[in-house]
Subunit: 286 residues, 2 copies
């Protein structure tokens, strides 16, 4: 493994032979939780940075891209969303974006690792502010089990997981998606973190093949996040059929003015995939 004083080197098993190096000014946290190694750094180039098991989870400089697209795409393509479940997402960034919508009456989060929540509240106020809304209920538990006990409960289920190695492996397998499909209200939608087209196309295709019988439509979008491997991350949108690739209502201007990434145009644009990925993914998911 690469090492140099004052530098963090990302070590991603799914992207061997490449590593993003980030110069760090201070290590604020290094802690082994029940599930994973948690590190938090200060850096000049990307601001504060959360690392789980040596993989960058978010940085202050670009987390907005991921969290905004995770939320504002389904919120602006679902006809009347009232309830949302976040699985994972213990940093609070997805909650922060959900909280912008007065129409949501119920916002649940189920994060397996309470240490992530507590350390985020202490060190990542820019995302952990998402926990402050009184509509948010926090459940420290296994996400699959929680969803199994909530049949027909949610308009949106947002799975903000780590990569499919270690604790999150089950979150990329068919039984979990079967549970999610049953936890949706009619017309509901599941959005999941789904890797990078340049690095994990086979894995993405295999996942789509495995869960195809569960959803009438699967759509894949790309989000530009410079500190993720290959600089891009995909989100997969699984639904009973409606087209989530276009907004169905104008974006609330009071929400728009607080955003840095999402626009109605980038909502649609994000679903336009490079030809090599379109052939592998979009065709499989339609």
């Amino acid at each position: 493994m690469l090492q140099a004083p004052g530098w963090f080197f990302e070590d991603t098993p799914s992207d061997s032979g490449r590593s993003l190096a980030v110069e760090v000014t201070r290590k604020l946290v290094e802690q082994q939780s029940q599930f994973q190694k948690i590190e938090i750094y200060d850096t000049e180039s990307v601001g504060r940075m959360l690392v789980l098991d040596n993989i960058i989870q978010l940085t202050e400089s670009d987390e907005f891209a991921y969290h905004e697209m995770f939320v504002h795409v389904p919120m602006n393509a679902h006809p009347a969303p009232e309830s949302a479940l976040v699985i994972g997402g213990g940093d609070g960034g997805i909650l922060r974006e959900l909280n912008r919508y007065a129409s949501l009456r119920r916002i649940d989060i189920c994060e397996i690792d309470d240490d992530v929540i507590q350390l985020s509240k202490q060190y990542l106020p820019f995302t952990a502010c998402g926990f402050d809304d009184p509509r948010v209920s926090v459940h420290v538990a296994d996400g699959a089990e929680f969803a199994r006990n909530s049949p027909g409960a949610y308009d949106l289920i947002l799975v903000d997981s780590t990569d499919p190695i270690g604790p999150a492996e089950v979150l990329f397998q068919r039984p979990f998606f079967e549970t999610l499909s049953k936890a949706l209200k009619p017309g509901g939608v599941v959005v999941t973190q789904c890797m990078a087209i340049y690095l994990h196309l086979n894995m993405i295709r295999n996942l789509i093949d495995a869960i195809r019988p569960l959803f009438a439509r699967m759509q894949y979008m790309n989000v530009l996040v410079p500190t993720y491997p290959a600089g891009v991350i995909g989100l997969m949108v699984c639904s009973s059929g409606p087209d989530f690739s276009k907004p169905i209502r104008p974006l609330d201007p009071a929400i728009a003015r607080n955003l840095k990434y999402y626009t109605p145009a980038i909502h649609s644009g994000a679903f336009a995939l490079p030809r090599f990925a379109e052939q592998a993914i979009a065709a499989a998911g339609e």
Copy 2:
């Protein structure tokens, strides 16, 4: 500067505090030309890799994205392109894409560094095959001077430059763009490599401000290239007014089947910018 045996560390002055590390299996070339240090490596993770002055210029794994978008966007939005000039681009990748169009009668390339051309022909056959077409005329010269001597000559001018440090600095300044605007035929278009929105937004905005009087419209698009800093690179499209953000004719199926990135949908999608960039760029360029 970071060092470790068997690894190449990118050293980008415009992106300090971050570095992409790539494990290399063999160094094929290290040569100081009249203009720059040229290195070529073999790697497992990104294939063969061309490096100029310690900055990755292209890798076998993802050069198609950059070269396809550079060419197929203007070629499918210009009403009747017959002549093209490439400035820089000595690896041949842009030529390869231009050559796919039978409608082009004249394809000139003006590259200042003959060593880049010769080494590309020797080591990068996947891009240097672009030199094989009999329509291609190679000029080893200063691009600005070459364009100055070609008034009203081109439908397309494609500036495939290195970053605005060292020899390419003048390619990001107003006098050069003034020359380019005069080298266009009526209705013609200039496309230039234009950095990354996450890293160089001020520079992009300053460039747009400086050249705004020269072009009726400037439009900016993003291309996913994992081995460029931040994983994305922008191309700026400068024209006398027509909208280049949408294709105006169906893509020739005989061309489409050889492409890995470009599609009509990603043509449009690439111009949808994150809100923070749209506000800085699109507004300035319209």
